[in-house]
Point group: C2
Chain length 286, copies 2
Amino acid sequence: MKMHLDCPSCFIKQAVRTGRLLECSNTRLWQMVKGCGQVLANVNEDWSPPQNAVALYEMIARVTGKDDPFYNLKKESTRQALELYPELKERISRCSDRLEAAIRYAACGNVIDYGISSDFNILDEIDKALTTRFSLWEYSLFKKRLRQADWILYLGDNCGETVFDRLLIEELKVPVTYVVRGGPIINDVTMEDAVDAGLDKVAKLVSSGCKAPGTILEWCSDEFRALYESAPIIISKGQGNFETLSHEEREIFFIFKIKCDVVARFLDHPLNTMVFGRSPRYPNRN
Amino acid sequence: MKMHLDCPSCFIKQAVRTGRLLECSNTRLWQMVKGCGQVLANVNEDWSPPQNAVALYEMIARVTGKDDPFYNLKKESTRQALELYPELKERISRCSDRLEAAIRYAACGNVIDYGISSDFNILDEIDKALTTRFSLWEYSLFKKRLRQADWILYLGDNCGETVFDRLLIEELKVPVTYVVRGGPIINDVTMEDAVDAGLDKVAKLVSSGCKAPGTILEWCSDEFRALYESAPIIISKGQGNFETLSHEEREIFFIFKIKCDVVARFLDHPLNTMVFGRSPRYPNRN
């Protein structure tokens, strides 16, 4: 997906929201607004939003003077999600179709951004996930592909959500290679965060080589690109990975919650609905 | 009012909306986004939003290659409002308190931005204005001041709305000096636009000397400032004039519709309500 004309104002809102989350002073917040102005003055409208967002989050790191401003928030998100792990594991084990339940839970995990707020009862949300109607649900096709696959490439997204990914991986019954970001960006999963979530116990961990809140193939390592091309199945978590891979010609099963109007219009699905399936731009729909 | 951290994203939305209104190509719209980025990179957070918006609309004029990009839209707004004039005049004449009705209509005129859209029945809106509860309504005080005043300074706002100002001026029964912007900015009233609306028949017309979508005293002419200081009553139309004069120590009767959350929070009034009265920051409330 290319940048949409609605994205730039959202960049500014994100910068301010992020600064507030990081408890920046008013002076710092205005520095971020001005820095964001500079980023937008040089925006590349042919790039995807996450590709342009790299400069945005580099600016935020510069203004805050921290390479990984979300470090503590990420640790806390993972810790909170790990506390839920035994209960979630138990709930999945009680479902007649454990794989379906785990996919639904993994989509629900994508709701987690910047930790679980106190007014947000994740267990209630998760119960709803079991019956929620997904606006895209290509489960039969996925099961067909799964029967033929000897391994799966799984593209990670945010911290906290990682624990839900682990639950899904445990139901896949096929070796999984789990992909983390090439470096800290927002609250996205890095190698350290994946280990924190216990993903090293259930998957082989690799870095995409790309420090962006998405998977920008031309910025990824050769090692990752080789995996990407050879993988029998790819599962991709989160909107950022969708925005950067929506026009790819290879089959990818995206799992995410539609969090903005631009993506909702692109998919022609309602905002805030869950998606499990391929991009509408994927050409080979057999 | 100073810039709020919510204003910068709104600047971008305004630039894009304005560009679309002016039927700019996609390439031009992205030029505007980048230009807006440059404006925000140099934003002055101690200034009011209209003060910072001057650079925004100068950029839009530069990108469109037009000194007065809204020229045709302004002409059309005025023409449409003039068509309503006889009917509005008649409706006011039927009211038992004609002055009150004219103030309510003048506030309603502030709803007009960029002409009267086809799906917006202004006459229906106007009927509602006669019974709408204003979130601020200092009518008794205004009438008291009016009895003692030998002239009134009236700060204009947008084209189209000007015709509603004319109807109010005709009910004031006191000489009025009507203030226009120092040059074309957005769809704000200039000298030519005021004459188009027939305001020269009911008031003395003067320029503020300031080409901004508000009244920035330090950028106004000495002539205007002398009028501002000596006027027995000031009526100020529109949110832009409010944003630039909200902290003034002299009494001003503002008439406008609250069109954004930042101003709604500042006033502690609901969004989209109408206001007639003094700023909450006006110190001398006798």
